[in-house]
Amino acid sequence: MTVTLRLGFVPLVDAAPLIVAEAMGFAEEEGLALDLVGAPSWSSLRDLLAVGQVAGAQMLAPVPVALALGLGGPARFEVLSVLNLNGNAIGVSTALAARMQDHDFALSDARAAGLSLLAAVEQRLRIGVPFAFSMHNELVRYWLEGLGVPLPQGLEIVTVPPPLMPDALATGEVDAFCVGEPRGSVAVDRGAGVLLLPTSAIWAAAPEKVLAVRAGWAEADPDLAGRLIRAIWRAGRWLGQAANLTVAGEVLAARLGVSAELIERSLTGRLVIAADGAERFAPAFLRFDGGAAGFPWRSQAAWIGARLGRRHGLNPLGAQVIAAEVFRSDIYRLHLGPAGADLPAASAKVEGSLLLPTPVASSRGKLILPPDQFYDAQVFDPGLAG
């Protein structure tokens, strides 16, 4: 019996696991027919999920955490898996880029990029991000705060819907931006901005989008939840194979309404950074698979919770404990262990401690975690046992 499941997404490259699960037959293998509903904004997608018009949704990783902390609405969501690590890019207006002649725009050194940016700022630095509760917002703040220099008085981080970002740059409404793909590349191609830094250069393995459902949904129907988690996991593994990226580009282009060439830039990490066609390679720019990429680490949620808690006047320690509960690594284990996933023995780690690919204890004994360092060499120990 095929079951139809409505899932919501925002038309971005990192909706790929959902789109691929549907288009390449991974959902069908599990007896699922996915009805993918595109949402115009994160707030509307949150509402669609909250009122039950979709069963699950691609979601910015901080949204379910924020809701659990009582920020941004009464809904309660849970995270069943991480759809991707990294994948956002910070860019500056062409005017600002012109004042950063000393910088090489190599996309690799977050400190150098940040210092160069601050030196080029005249008075105001207004940075556009897609949503208040987003890794874009968190990572931009983390980056600027960690530079160790006084920040400009006129620093503001504001929400600008990504489709409006090129106009916002052109009219001077914002001076810089942090967006997911293909929005950054679109801004570049329109001549509105220059890419300065992938967020992977700030945190090498940051959770970005997650698969979110209403709290309790997965436990109310474990069979259905299992099928969904497995279909999405297999789609992620497929996306992790370099040989599949051309097909992936075509499949995504049809859904997202931009060219496959534009999408391939983020899938391969070969980014065009300026309208003149200058290209840079950003390794691990966007990751769907490998090294337990889909595993919802409780420590990732705790990091987000601690940051949100501090900024919104909550007890950061309490916030991080509440947050950790939102990433359901237990449900992930329950459904993917029998499916053959190589699961880490622990559900939390010291974020930022891996400078090199590192073997760790796992269910099948072959798990190697990728580097996850922060650019400023800080580590985050959530103090969660196991």
Binding site: S41, V51, F131, E173
Partner: protein, 194 residues
């Protein structure tokens, strides 16, 4: 004493904005301002400090308004309407009609309801018009494709219009497909063979 409500409607399309404003006027004597330009939306709204903000749920700029719900002065901050669970039916109706509302915390429900009811009615009407327009467009497109396919069959087989139409219909029925689909396939194939 009920002072007038200050309402902001975010809508780029002038005709739609007029429809919504007219609907709100019928609901009471309120102070309604339309914002059409979406750049710097959050700033403009907070400068005005309205009691209520209405925006099409399909408008990506909604995310910019969300930011206002995190503002520091709790008494003045607008909250997403679905936050107020006192009236679940109203929330559901709004979501179905495609209208999102942001209401200043503490504003009593009986003041908001008539305004929202009016907004919901207008959005429903606009949604209906949009669907009808899309239907009309689609029907026109289909008619054009069928006419082209008919012409191709007429030339290829040297038959009359009615006969060509009957052939197409029969092909569609035999294949269990829509007439427009068969016509489109024929037109596409003919393009290839040119």
């Amino acid at each position: 004493m009920n002072r007038r409500l200050s309402i902001i409607v975010v809508e780029k399309d002038r005709d739609r904005a007029v429809m919504i404003v007219d609907g709100l006027r019928e609901a009471g004597d309120h102070d309604v301002l339309v914002i059409a330009d979406e750049l710097g939306l959050a700033r403009r709204i907070s400068e005005r400090n309205p009691d209520l903000v209405l925006i099409d749920a399909g408008n990506p700029s909604r995310d910019a308004i969300e930011e206002l719900t995190l503002a520091s002065a709790p008494l003045q901050r607008p909250v997403a309407m679905f936050v107020d669970e006192s009236d679940g039916a109203l929330t559901q109706a709004a979501i179905e009609a495609g209208v999102s509302a942001y209401v200043v915390a503490g504003l009593s429900a009986n003041r908001i309801k008539p305004v929202l009811d009016a907004a919901i009615a207008r959005f429903h009407l606009m949604q209906k018009m949009r669907v009808e327009l899309a239907e009309t467009r689609r029907a026109l497109e289909e008619r054009k494709v069928i006419d082209r396919a008919k012409g191709i069959v007429m030339r290829a087989k040297g038959i009359g219009e009615d006969e060509a139409y009957a052939l197409l219909r029969k092909a569609a029925m035999d294949q269990g497909r829509k007439l427009a689909e068969v016509a489109q396939a024929l037109v596409t194939a003919a393009e290839l063979l040119k």
